[in-house]
Symmetry: C2
Subunit: 83 residues, 2 copies
């Protein structure tokens, strides 16, 4: 079966996010004054072949832990759906 | 009211995504062989103050169009919720 995973990788809330701060300043310069906080991370979609949803989840979890996210400074969250 | 927007910005499907290809090769090197396609984009969360959901949506849409996404090579999608 084919599955599609939508992964969000974001900097931990406790950490500074200079890219987010830069975007926030940019938005204020554009006149969008109500913006409180901006955080910038990665969004990754993976299409993969797996026997079932449990196997697909395990594969994506391994991919996040070993390659996609740096767990010292980032956290990840993903959702999987059959396609 | 405070709203939180979760924005995904991804390269258009028709375009090559070299970063995605690199991640795909990395995953295959890790032994995750079932991976078909990987695409890498940005995930941005914005917390903002707005009068109502319609105003918040309009502000986020403007932010995406004017600053966050390059509509020539990227598309964006967002969801808004009151916090």
């Amino acid at each position: 079966m084919k599955f599609k995973a939508e992964i969000d990788i974001m900097p931990h809330d406790a950490l500074l996010d200079p890219q987010g701060k830069a975007v926030q300043a940019g938005l204020q310069n554009l006149g969008l004054s109500g913006v409180d906080q901006v955080r910038v991370g990665k969004h990754i979609t993976i299409t993969l072949e797996a026997a079932n949803e449990t196997a697909a989840k395990a594969a994506v979890d391994e991919a996040c832990k070993k390659l996609l996210a740096n767990l010292i400074v980032e956290r990840y969250h993903f959702e999987i759906a059959a396609v």
